[in-house]
């Protein structure tokens, strides 16, 4: 037989088949799958980041002289340049702001109509508390009837004066402190200074000034509440709503899921009933989330909330107190939705705890409960955390069931407040995911809010990524602390 062995090992005639076998095609296949997944994720993040960072970065204000818009020209920010499929002419989408003066805050212009394009240094962008942006040229400030002309001043000087006026605006009535702005049409408008939230001369800004503005814009995005039916301001309300929802959900799902997993793995006998329960739990993870929403509405909101109303708040009926969508019911619905994830991953962790550890504890006179609490659960903690984080990540991004059980397009108040009872379980709340859906797909003027939608999406993806990352790090630390595999065995 040695001759035969020598023959197969040193075969000189290499066929294509041999080559493929040696190259291990499955390695390439699996590597390709990984690369595809990574590229898709990276592409998503880059797309979101690019679009939302552009939204915060001050864009140049252009003055377009175009035959189609008449003599006066058009002042605004070019949002997009594209060539429609049925035309060879490039089209420009310009945001001109001032929705009360123009028929639409955005305007399409054909590139061939443009006679000149310039970036005037003294063009100002005014962001107002309400009614969107204004683009124009500062003319003057009226302080108690006295007029200070700004038209001839350099942008830096005009900005300094205006900001000083803005600071004083809180102590004066709106009529006493007004500003005059010349629009691109030549029309001069007069408005109270107090209605301005911020202003900048985008074309006169240095790179560092733009960077500061960029950071401030991000700060405003994160810390301000939405205004003007969500198209202005920040997303603070939605962030708080999302966090509160996830927090309450975690408080409910963690003990419930972990104890259920403990029962299934530590106490239940491995009979057909246990197996059936386990299969049912696994299948629950695959139920469409909107079904949970419908269940939450029917069971939590109408059945439980409704009957609580008829017992405790009968005097207020028919106006519902608890029998209406709100934070509590949404949290419970999400807890139900994420329960299978927590149970399954906790059970996986429990299974991996070696039997010898349990026996060691029991042999020392510990009861089963003491063994679970002091030995098994600490060792399974990394898996429990993994399950919880997966649940949190899922709940953060879930929208469909929330539409039915408590999310609001616009919630005037936060679900938390400084006065009793601090957390308002019955209130409706805003949610980042729903905010994206509502703003991006239900808004009449998508062009003006596109940046906001991208920024919110980036924020949401960032939150989920951060949660997952923190879980990985935390789990790594715990594995070190509770490693059972390590050591001399």
């Amino acid at each position: 037989m040695p001759t035969h062995e020598a023959e197969t090992l040193t075969s000189s005639a290499e066929t294509l088949d041999d080559g493929v076998r040696r190259a291990e095609p499955f390695v390439w296949l699996s590597a390709a799958a990984v690369v595809t997944a990574v590229l898709l994720l990276a592409g998503l993040v880059v797309l979101l980041a690019g679009n939302s960072l552009r939204f915060f970065w001050p864009q140049p204000v252009v003055f377009l002289n175009a035959s189609s818009v008449g003599q006066a020209g058009l002042l605004g920010v070019v949002l997009r340049r594209e060539t429609p499929r049925d035309s060879i002419q490039e089209q420009l989408l310009v945001l001109r702001g001032g929705q009360e003066f123009f028929s639409s805050p955005v305007e399409w212009i054909s590139a061939q109509d443009i006679q000149s394009e310039e970036r005037p240094r003294h063009a100002v962008t005014i962001e107002r508390v309400d009614r969107g942006r204004l683009y124009g040229f500062l003319d003057a400030l009226d302080v108690r009837g006295e007029r200070i002309s700004l038209a001839a001043l350099p942008p830096e000087e005009a900005l300094r004066l205006f900001l000083a006026a803005l600071e004083r605006s809180t102590s004066m009535s709106a009529d006493q402190l007004r500003y005059r702005l010349r629009l691109s049409t030549g029309q001069i408008v007069e408005r109270p200074v107090a209605s301005v939230s911020s202003l900048h001369f985008a074309n006169a800004m240095s790179w560092s000034e733009k960077a500061i503005y960029f950071l401030q814009a991000i700060g405003r995005f994160l810390t301000e509440s939405p205004r003007q039916s969500n198209v202005e301001g920040g997303v603070l309300t939605a962030i708080v709503g999302t966090v509160m929802l996830v927090l309450l959900m975690t408080i409910v799902v963690a003990p419930l899921g972990v104890t259920a997993a403990i029962y299934l793995n530590e106490y239940a006998r491995g009979g057909p009933v246990t197996r059936l329960v386990r299969i049912a739990v696994n299948n629950l993870a695959g139920v469409p989330s909107i079904v949970y929403g419908v269940f939450g509405l029917g069971f939590f909101v109408y059945a439980i909330g409704g009957s609580l109303d008829s017992v405790f708040f009968a005097d207020r009926l028919p106006a519902p107190t608890l029998g209406t969508p709100g934070l509590l019911w949404a949290s419970l619905t999400m807890a139900l939705l994420t329960l299978p994830v927590v149970i399954v991953s906790t059970e996986e962790g429990l299974v991996r705890v070696p039997r010898t550890l349990r026996e060691g504890s029991l042999a020392l006179g510990a009861t089963r409960a003491e063994t679970v609490w002091r030995v098994v659960l600490p060792s399974a903690l990394p898996a429990v955390l993994t399950g919880l984080i997966l649940a949190i990540a899922r709940a953060t991004g879930e929208v469909a069931p929330l539409i039915l059980v408590g999310v609001a397009k616009y919630a005037p108040g936060l679900p938390i407040s400084a006065e009793f009872p601090y957390v308002h379980f019955d209130r409706q709340f805003m949610h980042l995911g729903f905010y994206i859906y509502d703003l991006g797909f239900q808004s009449p003027q998508l062009e003006t809010v596109e940046g906001l939608v991208f920024a919110t999406a980036l924020l949401l993806v960032g939150i989920v990524l951060m949660l997952n990352l923190s879980a990985v790090i935390l789990r790594g630390r715990l594995r070190e602390a509770f490693s059972v595999e390590e050591g001399f065995r």
């Binding site: 060691g360 504890s361 042999a363 020392l364 006179g365 510990a366 600490p378 490693s483 001399f488």
Partner: protein, 273 residues
């Protein structure tokens, strides 16, 4: 290896005859069956484990010696398809009686397993575990008891400066002595050792054997071992088991030098499998 064994033999010869010789554990007509297998794992076992002596169970793999050992602290309760009949008495109390607190029984009958199984906690917390279970949480008491147990397990000098470090960073032999310290910290009456040295190197094995010798002044010890030399070195009494039956049980010296049964002789002379 030989010089160590001579050493242990010398130790062993210093007899412990003054210890009370009555039985601490008594087994009567014990049968054990795993429902999935056809035959009994233990068949009609009756024997008495003497107090404050070392009793060794020897026999080929699968003869039921570990199953028998696990009957003494009801560890077999954890195996769902295990059925036991007959009686086991701990100081004249039937441990399979109707109102027995199994946790309390296991506090009185400690056990050390084949592979070291320290908890993934600090050295200190490992030894403190059994005490904390009993509600002892005063640091002063714990410190004292832990030091006592670690000294008794001949581990104190090696770990006194690293009480806070994870027990899994200790060597295998140290881990096994830690597990013994953990078991004796709760002051059991009987100590069951299930092949305590089978996963250890010769030097660690020797230390465990020396430890067993020292511990028998305070505890009744039952040890299961594959290693006949080990049984001869450390035990006062030896039980030879085969195929779920107790073949012979007697003084170690007699059993090894002058076995009554031919099966025993075959096994200890190596003619068996």
């Amino acid at each position: 290896m030989s010089q160590y064994s001579i050493n242990v033999r010398a130790l062993k010869r210093a007899p412990n005859r003054d210890a009370e010789s009555s039985a601490c554990l008594r087994v009567e007509n014990l049968n054990l069956r795993y429902l999935r297998s056809q035959s009994d794992a233990l068949h009609n076992i009756s024997l008495a484990i003497p107090r404050k002596r070392v009793t060794a169970f020897i026999g080929p793999s699968g003869c039921g010696k570990s199953s028998l050992l696990r009957c003494f602290n009801r560890m077999n309760d954890l195996i769902e398809d295990c059925r036991i009949s007959g009686q086991v008495y701990l100081e004249s109390e039937d441990i399979y009686g109707p109102r027995v607190d199994v946790a309390a029984l296991r506090r009185r009958v400690g056990m050390v397993f084949q592979n070291p199984n320290p908890f993934p906690k600090s050295v200190y917390e490992n030894v403190a575990f059994g005490l904390r279970i009993q509600g002892i949480n005063k640091k002063r008491v714990l410190d004292e008891e832990i030091e006592k147990a670690l000294r008794a397990a001949a581990l104190w000098d090696e770990v006194k400066d690293r009480m806070g470090s994870n027990a899994l960073t200790l060597s295998g032999g140290q881990q096994q002595r830690l597990v013994i310290a953990r078991a004796i910290a709760v002051q059991p009456e009987v100590l069951l050792l299930d092949e305590p040295a089978s996963s250890l190197d010769p030097i660690s094995t020797l230390r465990i054997e020396e430890l067993i010798y020292e511990l028998k002044t305070r505890y009744s010890i039952v040890i299961v071992t594959h290693n006949m030399q080990q049984a001869a070195r450390v035990s006062d009494m030896t039980a030879f088991m085969n195929l779920g039956r107790l073949v012979e049980f007697g003084e170690t010296d007699t059993l090894f030098t002058n076995p009554k049964e031919s099966q025993t002789e075959d096994y200890i002379t190596g003619r068996y499998g």
